[in-house]
Point group: C2
Chain length 199, copies 2
């Protein structure tokens, strides 16, 4: 934006540009949009963000976002609390819940181990996970993303937990349902072949 652009507009655009996936062009478009909103709507938007930040906390058990001390999933007696699915972020919980079929509980790490970015076990919710394992736990399912960091985090946690005699599993690798062999990447294809199942 140029020198004739009002400073508050530039500052608003810079704030939008800090959000993930929002580039400077989009940020400017959003800032201009804010000026076209009513003062009430802008105030409501601003307050909603502040309220969300202030009223939402992490569940004392699984660390997923919740408004209460303990989240809805952890307090649900129909769910198996001795099966813990470990994920990177609250969005992963949403994805698995949307897919359905999983009846255990979760543990949200809020990050992945990444020595390059200075993220060690202290920066993610490892301590809270280990505390839960002292109780009655039948299985820990590692459901971190199939990326370098996701793999590293899964194998790090697996190495810590296995000696405790707890069953540890990993989400299956293979062809996505509905995909075609022709367009599958090599690594996925090799994994699908290795993990083939008898029918």
């Amino acid at each position: 934006m140029a020198e004739y652009t009002p400073l508050p507009l530039i500052l608003a655009a810079e704030q939008f540009a800090k959000l993930p996936g929002i580039g400077m062009k989009t940020a400017q478009r959003l800032a201009y949009h804010v000026l076209n909103m009513t003062t009430d709507d802008v105030g409501h938007f601003a307050n909603t963000l502040i309220t969300a930040r202030e009223s939402v906390r992490c569940c004392s058990v699984c660390q997923n976002f919740t408004e209460k001390e303990t989240c809805v999933i952890c307090t649900d007696e129909r769910r198996m609390n001795d099966v813990i699915c470990v994920v990177e972020s609250p969005r992963d919980v949403t994805a698995i819940e949307r897919a359905g079929g999983f009846e255990g509980s979760y543990h949200v790490l809020h990050g992945l181990l990444s020595p390059m970015d200075g993220t060690g076990p202290e920066q993610i919710r490892m301590k809270e996970l280990m505390a839960r394992l002292s109780g009655d736990v039948a299985e820990v399912i590692m459901a971190t993303n199939p990326t370098v960091e996701g793999e590293a985090t899964a194998s790090y946690i697996c190495r810590l937990i296995k000696p405790m005699g707890i069953k540890v599993s990993r989400l299956a690798y293979g062809l996505p349902v509905g995909a075609s062999l022709e367009f599958a990447d090599d690594v996925t294809l090799v994994r699908a072949m290795e993990n083939r199942n008898l029918i």
Copy 2:
């Protein structure tokens, strides 16, 4: 988002989804991001938006966004105030200023005529434009977008102004610089042919 998602998080996502070009998926990602920001950062973000909305107004002359009563371009004595470039939005002013070479002044309509959406001459800054034309004006350049609404608005304004004896012009249509004939659309190609220049 599902029933176990905290309500404030859903509300924040809904607010983001109201912004132009932000779909529900992106809005959810942004809402989750807000929860990972510090309380101070969220407050700062919210305040910046409110400040932008409250401190930025429309220039009393050209209707472009400004913090003052009259904008920097309208008060710049080096610019020709008798040449008025009519555009749809403040972003168009930014685009033309970035390109450089134009030394006149602007008039921002804050919209285009669109009977389908109920936008008539009263909903855009037509009254303010007509008021400026009673002064000393040499030329009005119609620089609305080359779309149906942009064309309709340009020809509507042209029909109003021409009888007043003021020169009215329209941005040239033709091939974009650096484009290839092969990929130009038919309408653009016909216009480029019609508007060919002697060399």
